[in-house]
Symmetry: C2
Amino acid sequence: MKALIVSADGFEDSELLVPYYRLKEAGIEVTVASLSRGVIKGKHGYEVAVDKALDEASADDYAILVLPGGAAPAVVRKEAKALEIARSFFALDKPVVAICHGPQILISAGLLQGRRATCYVSVADELKAAGARYEDQEVVVDGKLVTSRQPADLPAFMRETMRQTGL
Amino acid sequence: MKALIVSADGFEDSELLVPYYRLKEAGIEVTVASLSRGVIKGKHGYEVAVDKALDEASADDYAILVLPGGAAPAVVRKEAKALEIARSFFALDKPVVAICHGPQILISAGLLQGRRATCYVSVADELKAAGARYEDQEVVVDGKLVTSRQPADLPAFMRETMRQTGL
C-alpha cells in the first residue's frame, strides 16, 4: 500500500513527521510530493526529502492522501496540480486526511461543500464560507474525509487515518 | 495502560513526540517525567509539559519506559533517581525502549552488560565499553529491551515498542 503526503516549506513538523513515521510503521510506502523535488523544511527546521514533484504524482498510485498543516498549505493551495490531485482522490473515493491548515487545500479545490469537517481555529471561518459543516472536535470523520484541528489532536487523527487504510 | 517517558531539555523532538502521540493513539496514558515539573524544550523548539518530577515517578505505575534521544540523556543520566527508575523497570521485567542517545541512561544505570543493543553511531563506543553487544540495525530487540539508532528508525522502533505493550 502507498500513501501520498502533499506539503511544502513551512509545514508543521509534527503534523508531517507523525503521519510519515506512523504509516511507515504499518508497512505503508510513503511518497512526499511538493512543488519540486529536493527537500522541504518545516517550521521547526526538520528537513524532509521530496520524492516527487506535484506534476509527477497521480492519485491512481496511492491509497490515501495526507495533508499536514503549518504554513505549507497556503503555498500548496495555489498549485493547480495539487488541487487536481485532491479532486482525483475524492473522485476515486479514496481517503483524504487533513490537519490544521491542511483543509485549506480542500477549500481551494472546492471539495468541502456540505461536508462535515474541522481545521485549525483560525481557518474555521473560511471552512464555513466554503460550505463545510464545521465541528470543533479533535477529529471529524465524514465518509473518507478525516480532519483534525492541531498537533494535540494527532492521536485521534492517526487513529482514524489508520482506520481508513484498513490496516 | 500507562507509559512513562523520561527526558529533559534538549530532547530530539521527533524521538519524543512520535512515541508520545503513537502511544496515545493506542489509548495508552502517557506521563512525561523530568528533573522538575513544568516544561521541557526540544532541540527543534517543541515544548512538552512535564507531568511528574523524577522523584514522583515509580516504575510500579507504568507498563513501559520510553527514553528518547537528543541532548537530554546526557542530563538525565546524571540523575540518580532516573537510573533507579530504569533499574526498577528491568527488575520488574517491564519493557524499556530507548533510541539514539537514550541508551546512555541505561549505560549509566549499568543495565547493558551482555545485552544486545544499538544506539546513535557516536554512542556506540561507550555502549560496547558498557558490555553491550552492539548491532548496527534499525532496531534491536533483546527480550524486553528495544533500542534504535536515530529518527529514521522510528517506524521500526515504534513497531517493536507497540509489540512490547501487547496492544
